[in-house]
């Protein structure tokens, strides 16, 4: 009888699921709750999973907790959108503001590996100037980190995930060659390329975290097209099949179905600084407490501030790490607008990873009437998602909807990942309602500013030209969609204007770290996962350096 990873923890009794073998197990070190480990990490996605691996490999004792299940993709993942909603964080959340963000399937994972289990695998480096966008480009905020240092960590992550990419990348400083060759383009990718060529801008094969050649026990990508609903063949280089197995092999313990509700902080008398002592978490129906010397929060831009708020105590009535008042503020999502049309030719965009080709032209060209930039990519929505776009975005129902859906195999689309400006008023707070664990649920508020609207207008107009240039018809704009999140624990070099320092370490509670996209002061116009992982690698090295100097 197969077990149910959604109801019963798999990581028990000194073993963890072997993600490369149906029904398989690997030995895993386990710690007692009352054993004070060096690090307890909340969340195992791009930030927490990567950090768990790197800290364990550096010799620290590590326990990482994830609220969701520990899947074995080969046996647990179906080729089915509805079934695979089990990958998403679908606990109750309130989304409000003038432009409420779409959550759930879009940007929130619940499970070991986090959102990387269902991300689109697009693995792009920041444009160097974005790390100093205030100084160099006149908007946003500077990161307390130099791009040259990040360039080295990008390289490390690209190697760790065996990114498939082009021989020459058309934009930015020279970069080393990608570890694996680029994938062949599907028709949706070819259509993007044709449009770019017609308009005279460069395009390239997307650097992407799915294998173009065998690796270990994983086969190359078979182009089944279910990437954003979970890869059932392990070609996708998610944290679940890369950093997590490495972490376990290096002696970290990962606990599934372990929801953290509160960080405990001790306030010694006599002027000693406050220190986190561990986390309260619920597993198998019981609240428990894991002791730790350091606590890392890696729950992404909503759950991370929510946990800091839910950990408020009499010394920190506004939540932990919040002396700046900026926890939960500057919540930033990325623009995700699209233009869709019909091609005479069959596109059948359900085949292959959805975004095999892209252009970063408008990230690197500064002749624009707005701040920030965007890239755009080819698209491959599966039927449920496509029907939702046609109905809730385009407003079709009845026979008009049924007819439009008949054109599925001819539809072609271009979609941006764009930089919205970080605004203090966009925020995550707590609502009065409670979730299934009895914890206050998050309330997420979002409103576009004029610059955001200018970026959207620019992108939609340009992509429309690109579709017209390849002869597409029935072109329409999808104005409302949201992707990646950032910003609710921004990093900086001033404790008054940031939540963590450049080492992702809380200014207020020095043994508390944040390691996920919420530390981003700005998002740039590229998917964030590569940068989150690069930052986690850097944070691990910084922790090791601090520990060596006795400053941890």
């Amino acid at each position: 009888m197969p077990d149910d990873p959604l109801t019963e923890p798999r990581a028990r009794n000194g073993r963890a699921p072997d993600v490369f073998r149906p029904g398989g197990w690997v030995p895993m070190r386990q710690f007692r709750d009352d054993e004070e480990v060096d690090f307890v990490i909340v969340g195992t996605g791009a930030g927490g999973g990567t950090l768990a691996c790197r800290l364990a490999e550096a010799g620290f004792t590590v326990v990482a907790l994830d609220a969701g299940p520990w899947f074995r993709p080969l046996e647990d993942f179906a080729s089915d959108e509805a079934e695979q909603t089990k990958l998403y964080w679908t606990d109750d959340r309130i989304s409000t503001g003038s432009n409420p963000v779409q959550l759930g399937s879009n940007n929130s994972g619940k499970g070991v590996g986090g959102s990387t289990v269902h991300f689109a695998m697009v693995s792009l480096r920041f444009r160097p100037e974005w790390f100093k966008s205030r100084t160099l480009l006149g908007y946003g905020a500077d990161w307390p980190i130099d791009w040259r240092e990040m360039w080295g960590y990008y390289r490390e992550v690209e190697e760790a995930l065996k990114i498939s990419g082009p021989v020459n990348y058309p934009w930015g400083p020279k970069r080393p060659r990608y570890p694996y060759r680029a994938h062949e383009l599907n028709a949706a990718g070819l259509a993007l390329a044709e449009g770019c060529e017609a308009l005279g801008i460069p395009w390239t094969e997307t650097p992407i975290a799915t294998l173009s050649a065998p690796r270990g026990r994983a086969h190359p990508c078979v182009y089944r097209g279910f990437c954003v609903t979970g890869c059932s063949t392990n070609a996708k280089q998610s944290a679940l099949v890369t950093w997590i197995p490495r972490a376990v092999a290096a002696g970290a313990e990962i606990r599934d179905l372990a929801m953290v509700g509160r960080i405990e902080v001790k306030h010694p008398t006599g002027g000693h600084e406050a220190r986190a002592t561990g986390v309260h978490y619920v597993r198998e129906g019981r609240w428990r407490f894991q002791h730790a010397r350091h606590v890392v929060v890696a729950g992404y831009a909503i759950e991370t501030p929510r946990l800091l708020f839910n950990s408020a105590d009499q010394h920190h009535p506004q939540g932990l790490a919040n002396s700046s008042g900026l926890v939960g503020k500057y919540f930033t999502v990325q623009a995700n607008q699209a233009v869709w049309g019909l091609s005479e030719r069959e596109i059948r965009s359900y085949k292959g990873p959805p975004s095999l080709a892209l252009t970063e032209h408008w990230n690197y060209c500064d002749a624009k009437d707005f701040f920030g930039g965007y890239c755009y990519m080819s698209q491959g929505p599966l039927p449920q998602l496509w029907a939702r776009v046609q109905s809730t975005n385009r407003g079709l129902w009845g026979n008009r909807l049924m007819r439009a859906m008949q054109d599925y195999n001819h539809q072609v689309g271009l979609k941006i990942v764009g930089e919205f400006l970080a605004q203090e008023r966009n925020c995550v707070t707590l609502a009065d309602d409670k979730d299934q664990y009895g914890l206050p649920i998050p309330r997420v508020e979002y409103s576009w500013c004029d610059n955001d609207v200018a970026l959207i207008d620019h992108a939609l107009a340009f992509m429309r030209r690109a579709l017209e240039a390849i002869g597409a018809t029935d072109i329409w704009d999808q104005r409302d969609d949201t992707c990646h999140m950032a910003g609710t624990c921004r990093m900086g070099d001033d404790p008054r204007t940031s939540v963590v320092d450049g080492d992702c370490r809380s200014w207020d509670i020095r043994n508390l770290f944040v390691c996920d996209g919420s530390v981003f002061p700005t998002t740039g116009g590229v998917n964030p996962s590569l940068t989150i992982q690069a930052l986690a690698c850097r944070t691990a090295d910084r922790i090791r350096a601090l520990a060596a100097r006795g400053e941890l």
């Binding site: 679908t90 599907n186 039927p383 029907a387 009845g398």
Partner: protein
């Protein structure tokens, strides 16, 4: 105004994704979950029978089904979703959670229908039902039964989303639109323009519908 019948000639005649059920395009997990979906109970476990009939009437307007294919039990699939309490993961501040929203939305629709037509929604003519849904979409309904839940938001974020999700979760819908369907682990080989793997459906173009049907009926 929409006519309540299927939308034009078949684009993928004779294609049925279920003929690939035993092929390398379906792994065990896929067979398990699709088999379970095809067995979705017809007796409601969340709705009462009147509510179910109302959702069936709504679904017939939103997703009018082709006559020649296995019907999609849209209302029953929504009942199942609510029974197991599967959530979207977010909602507007003035929207209740999924179960409450549906209960209240159906009651409000009946209240509106009773006050304008003297009959519950499920007993209206399709033209009248469509008109009421149109007014809901435009936010032009005001009965107190809505209880602060905006009809417009209920229409887009709950009613439309759930009906559409249910319809396109069913193999009938995939066959009708020419989608390759489940693809694990076989995936695809031919990726370019106008390229079709032998296990993908052929599209009927004008006078070659017979040829497309012949190809599609042999797909495994």
């Amino acid at each position: 105004m929409a006519e309540h019948r299927s939308a034009g000639p078949e684009r993928y005649p004779g294609y049925d994704v279920l003929t690939k059920r035993r092929s390398p395009s379906w792994n065990d997990k896929t067979r398990e979950v699709i088999d379970a979906r095809l067995r979705t109970p017809r007796e409601p476990r969340f709705f009462d029978i009147h509510e179910l009939a109302t959702v069936q009437a709504i679904a017939a307007i939103i997703t009018p089904q082709p006559a020649h294919r296995v019907p999609v039990p849209v209302a029953e699939l929504i009942d199942h979703k609510l029974y197991i309490d599967r959530q979207d993961g977010y909602r507007a501040a003035d929207m209740p959670r999924e179960r409450t929203a549906w209960r209240r939305g159906i009651a409000a629709l009946d209240a509106e229908s009773n006050s304008t037509h003297g009959r519950p929604f499920r007993e209206l003519e399709p033209r009248e039902q469509e008109e009421l849904l149109r007014r809901m979409e435009q936010g032009d309904l005001h009965d107190p039964v809505w209880g602060g839940m905006p009809p417009k938001t209920f229409f887009t974020q709950r009613l439309l989303t759930d009906v559409v999700d249910a319809y396109w979760s069913y193999p009938t819908a995939w066959s009708e639109m020419g989608y390759g369907g489940p693809a694990s682990p076989r995936g695809y080989v031919r990726m370019g323009y106008d390229e079709r793997d032998p296990w993908e459906p052929a599209e009927a173009h004008g006078d070659d519908a017979l040829e497309a049907r012949r190809i599609n009926q042999r797909i495994r």
